[in-house]
Structure formats: C-alpha cells, structure tokens
C-alpha cells in the first residue's frame, strides 16, 4: 500500500466531499484535537474544500504548545546545574521561557542536546557516565510509553546518571475540561490518531456519550480527515454520538496494551499545568515513587524566577480553540517562526506555525 498516494487520491476525495455535502447536517463545528491533523488540514487546504456548513477548529493537541511557561522556566534553570546534560526533542529547544530559551542557554555554553528519541538520550547517558543526563519528557500518550521504556531500561542496565523531567500530559482529561466548559459549542471531535494507537478508540467513548459529541479517531492523510468528518456527520444525522475509528489501519478499540502497561508501571496520574488552561486534575503523568532515582524533579529541585507570559500572546486561547491565529495581533509580525513569541509558532504541529507555513487558505 502506498500511503502517500492512495490516501491523497483526488477522486476519492471528491467522492467523500460530495457525500459530506449530501448529509443532512445544517452546520457543524468540529475540533481537531491533534496538531498533526491541523498540519494536514492546512497543507491540503481542506477547510476550503469542505462545504461551508462544516467549520474546523484547532485544539490543544500540540505537546510543545501546551507546556506551561513555569515548566519551561524550571528546565532553563535546571540547565545551569554544573555538569548536567539536557536532552530534548528539537521543538522544545526554541520555545521562549520567561527569560530566554534553551537555544539561548546552549549558546551561553550549557550542554543541551537535541535527540530524536528518549533511547538516544539514554545513549548520551551511557557515553557520559560521570555526568547527569536529563531527558525532557513532553508529549501525550504517544511519547510517554517510549519514555517509560527508557526509564525501565536505565534501571535494568544500571544507568544511574539518567533521569527524566516529566511534563507528560493526558488527552482525555483536557478534552473533558474543554467540553465541560461549554464555551465552544462543538458538534464533533476528530480524535488524535497516534495517541489512540496507544489508548485505543475506547477512551473517547464516555466523553462522546456524556457530552453528546460524535468523536472519530482519524489518521493523518487528507482522506483520513475527510472520512472522519463524514463519519461525524453521519453520527449527527443519526443522532447517535459515540466514539468510532476511521483509522483502523493503526488503531484498535483496546489500543496497545503492552504500551499502556509500561506507561502505568513508571508513571502515575498527576495534576498538570497547561498553558492557557492552568491546572487540570489528573491530566498529567508523574514518575512513581519507586522510580525516584530517575525523576529529575526530585534530583534537581530548582526554583526559577517568577514566570511571566509574553504580553499580547494568545497561545492559551488558541489552544482551547477559543481563538484562531489570525485573531492574534502578534501573528506574522512580532511573532514568526524565526523569532517566535509563543509556542504555537515554534512547534511544527502548532496552529500558528501551520497557519504561517501554509499561509492559510486562499479565499474563493
């Protein structure tokens, strides 16, 4: 199967679009949770192709974007620990904290390395046995199992200079927070594809039924998104909101049980601080007591200077779906990918970056 061509087939797309247009749905506001979906939607101009009755809004599913300024400040402070090596995914490197960014800390001489996987960070620890190596754990259920695995591997192999600063977040609790606030008037949810490979499609079902919002797990190709929109419309027509999977080549109802086990072994649910939302109970992952020697928040307790949010930045509202990048006075002028003010402009999965990169859509 050739994913890049078959899932971008124009004839199939126009068939799906016609089907969506025929559905008896007067209007529907649908949120795509995941930043990966936002990118697909912008890149292929899907908003422009969908009938005007369907409105797509971007959600909070960008791990870098939802990381709180406080956490970034902690990490920046931690980078000043003598001999420490911080290992991070590339996106986090450039996000401005209250006073500078990791990129600037690196230029000042701190040892901060970009890695592609927590297992690479583990290699850095193996290669530098006399220095503490801290991996900055961000991401949703997608990345958390691999980070958990790195901790298990470190314990098994006795790599005692390796630890993780966990800023991991869970998707269902934040969705519930958004839905329960009732401010967005949503009629559908495109649920995250990669997260669901781990959690399974089942985790969205209680939310879908409780709030009466059709929820469909989608893949990352344009046809995947269109299929999910059609399935949401079909549920709206039938008046039977529930969780369904439009990404069956990657996602099952139960999810990846082994990955769930590994994640539970190392992490416990904890309250988490979300940019633009604040503290949400049970929406994050903290390292369990028995893995304390691998928990950077215990090993390197730091007190950063008071956090300050960049004035004028509305990333928080954008993450909640309450505002769009075009509503921001800084967008494209003071805030660009070259000199980002807020995280939504840094991450390749951020709404502002996607909008900037693909320049929005051309009217008409």
């Amino acid at each position: 199967m050739k994913y890049l061509t078959e899932f971008r087939n124009q004839e199939l797309a126009s068939g799906l679009l016609k089907q969506i247009a025929r559905r008896k749905v007067s209007s529907a506001r649908i949120m795509e949770f995941c930043g990966g979906h936002t990118v697909t939607i912008f890149r292929h101009g899907l908003r422009q192709l969908l009938p005007p009755s369907i409105e797509l809004v971007s959600g909070p599913g960008c791990p870098v974007c939802v990381t709180s300024t406080y956490d970034l400040d902690v990490v920046l402070e931690m980078s000043k620990t003598p001999d420490i090596i911080l290992a991070t995914f590339g996106d986090l490197f450039r996000v401005p904290a209250s006073h500078g960014s990791l990129r600037e800390q690196k230029a000042l001489g701190e040892d901060i390395r970009i890695v592609y996987s927590p297992l690479d960070a583990l290699n850095v620890a193996r290669d530098n046995p006399s220095r503490p190596v801290v991996f900055l754990g961000i991401g949703f259920e997608t990345t958390a199992p691999a980070v958990a695995l790195s901790v298990l591997t470190a314990r098994r192999e006795g790599i005692d200079n390796y630890s993780v600063y966990s800023m991991h977040k869970l998707s269902p609790p934040i969705l519930e927070t958004i839905l329960s606030s009732g401010t967005l008037d949503l009629q559908g949810l495109i649920c995250p594809g990669h997260v669901s490979t781990i959690t399974g499609g089942k985790v969205w079902d209680p939310l879908a039924r409780q709030y009466g919002i059709p929820s469909v797990v989608a893949g990352f190709e344009p046809l995947d998104i269109l299929q999910a929109v059609d399935m949401i419309c079909a549920q709206l027509e039938a008046g039977s909101p529930r969780s369904e999977i439009a990404y069956s080549r990657g996602v099952t109802w139960e999810g990846n049980l082994r990955a769930q086990e590994v994640m539970k072994e190392v992490f416990r649910e904890a309250d988490a601080n979300w940019r633009g939302v604040g503290w949400v109970p049970g929406s994050g992952l903290a390292i369990r007591e028995e893995f304390a020697p691998f928990d950077a928040s215990r090993l390197f307790p730091v007190t950063p200077p008071p956090s300050r949010e960049p004035p004028g930045c509305i990333c928080g509202d954008i993450l909640r779906g309450a505002k769009a990048p075009s509503d921001c006075g800084l967008f494209g002028t003071r805030c660009t990918p070259l000199d980002p003010v807020g995280p939504c402009m840094v991450s390749s999965e951020g709404s502002c970056s996607a909008r900037y990169r693909y320049g929005g859509e051309v009217d008409g």
């Binding site: 971008r8 890149r43 292929h44 101009g45 592609y116 961000i138 344009p222 900037y356 693909y358």
Partner: protein, 333 residues
Amino acid sequence: MDRILLAHGSGGRLAQQLVEEVFIESLTNPLLASMEDSATVDFHGQLAFTTDSYVVTPLFFPGGNIGKLAVCGTVNDLAASGAKPLYLSLAMILEEGLELSVLKEVVDTIRLAAQEAGVSIVTGDTKVVERGACQGMFINTAGVGRVPEGIVSSASRARPGDRILLSGAIGEHGMAVLSKRQGLTFQTEIRSDCAPLGELVANLVSVCPGVRCLRDPTRGGVATVLNEIAQRSGVGVFLDEGHIPIPEAVAGACEIMGFDPLYVANEGKMIAVVPVEQADDALSAMRRSPYGEGAQDIGEVTEEMPGKVLLRTAFGSTRFLPTLDGELLPRIC
C-alpha cells in the same frame, strides 16, 4: 605521515610538499602549475563572478562529498547568471589531524567534478587550523564565467504569462545529508543530486535567449527561490503541485521527519523563468541536457497576487507557499 599537521599550513617545506603532491598533482593545469600569486587569463565579454563557502557535515554523503559540492555549487551559481563557467579558485581550511587519505579523496572528487563541469582550478590556498576549530575541512571556491551576449538573468525580470520550468526531481540533496547526519536509513537510499549544470544552462539559453531568470534552488528549496522571484519582480507565481517531480523516497523521508520537499535543498537543479513563446523549446533543451531529463513545466507567472507564491494542490485546493524562516526542525510525534 598520513595526517594533516599544523605545519602543513605554515608555508614551509611540508606545506609546499602538500601543495605539490596533493593539489598540483591532481588538479594539474598550466595556470595552476605556474604557482604564481595570481592566475592571469585572457578575457573578453561580460564577466560573471561568484563565491561560496562549504561547511557541510558529514564530509561524505550518499551521492557526493564536500569537494563535489564546492565545485558544483559555484559552477551552478555562475550558470544561474546564464554564464559559461570557466575558472575556479580553491581555498581549503583543514583541521589538524585530518587523514591525508580523506583529503586526497576529496581533491580527487574536485578534479573529476571540475573536469565534468568544464572548468579549471587556476589558483588556490591551504590553511590548517587546530583540532576542533573546524569539522574536518571547510572549502571556499570562487568562480568566473562568461555571459553570452544578450543574456540577462535576474530575479526581477519575471513577467505575467511567463512559464516556470524545473530541471528535475527535488529534495534529494537535503534529505541525503540529513539522513546521513541523523544516522537514519531508509529502504531506498536517497542520493544527493549534486551535479554541474553549465551545459544544461548553455543548451537552454541557446534556444531561449529571452530567458528571464535562472536560479538554483539550494538552501530553502524551490519555494524560497520562487518567493524571491515573486517579490523582486512584483508578480504572482502559481504552481501545480501535481507537476512538481518529487521522488517517492524523498516524499516518504520528508513525511517521516515532518519536512516539506518544496523547502528542502537541491544541488543539481535549476529553475528557469521563460517567456511563454520560448517555453517549449526551453523545456526540450533542458530535457536533452545532462541532469535535465526530468525537467517539467511546473507553473506560471501571473499579474494577480503580486509578491506571493501559490500552490494548486493535487487535491484541488489552493494555498500560499510562503518564505520559510527558522531552521527546519524534525517533529516529535
């Protein structure tokens, strides 16, 4: 002795030996062998003059190495002004401890690339810096060429109605270097497209004297070059995504790493903006040339949307293709 020492850059006996045994021996031509302070050449006509420095890591990548890049990059900059590339200078900054065999292999590649490009390396310089002060070697080449009479290539000359031609598949150099740098292996190896385009340009301008603009889409890729043309000419550029040749392996690797092939570097491709009435001849000339077999007409210049580049997606929608700033970072999930 099989490694570069600081003394090789000192101007003494070792330095002389290095120049004679590695450079003169390999790159031999009368101008270089004269070992004068400057090369002096006869010249008449319109001169094109350019320079570029090469600091790529790793030094060797699938499809080429830093030496091939140093020749092709400068040759292609000359070609982009419509010129026939003639002479290059070669300045090398070597890291103490560099293996001599590595240097010889790079210089040998330079010889072959220069031969193929039809240019002579007529003057040069070598410096050695302490270990850690550069990564293996840096190279600078400057080049001169002759522009045929009546040919003017400039980013400000595109006019509504012009066609945009691209000499072949995009994204190979950037993805080849990046995959190698990150230690990523794909089922299909992506090889750099690094190649000299002097002949392709000579063929093109001979049948398309009205050519408006030639540009080699290196860093920043096709999208960045076309944005520059749109802005400097005050015109719009509309591209057809379906006509832009993107190798399957490049598309796949870009997808995995979160890049857009339209922004990925090329080192053996040329974009030509040509008047519509000469477009067919220009396209045929490109396709007859070495490294131009895959040439395509990828879009047109318009009066509407001045300063902007727009992409008609294969999906039937139209979106902007802006200038990208900030480095390309791989995505994380």
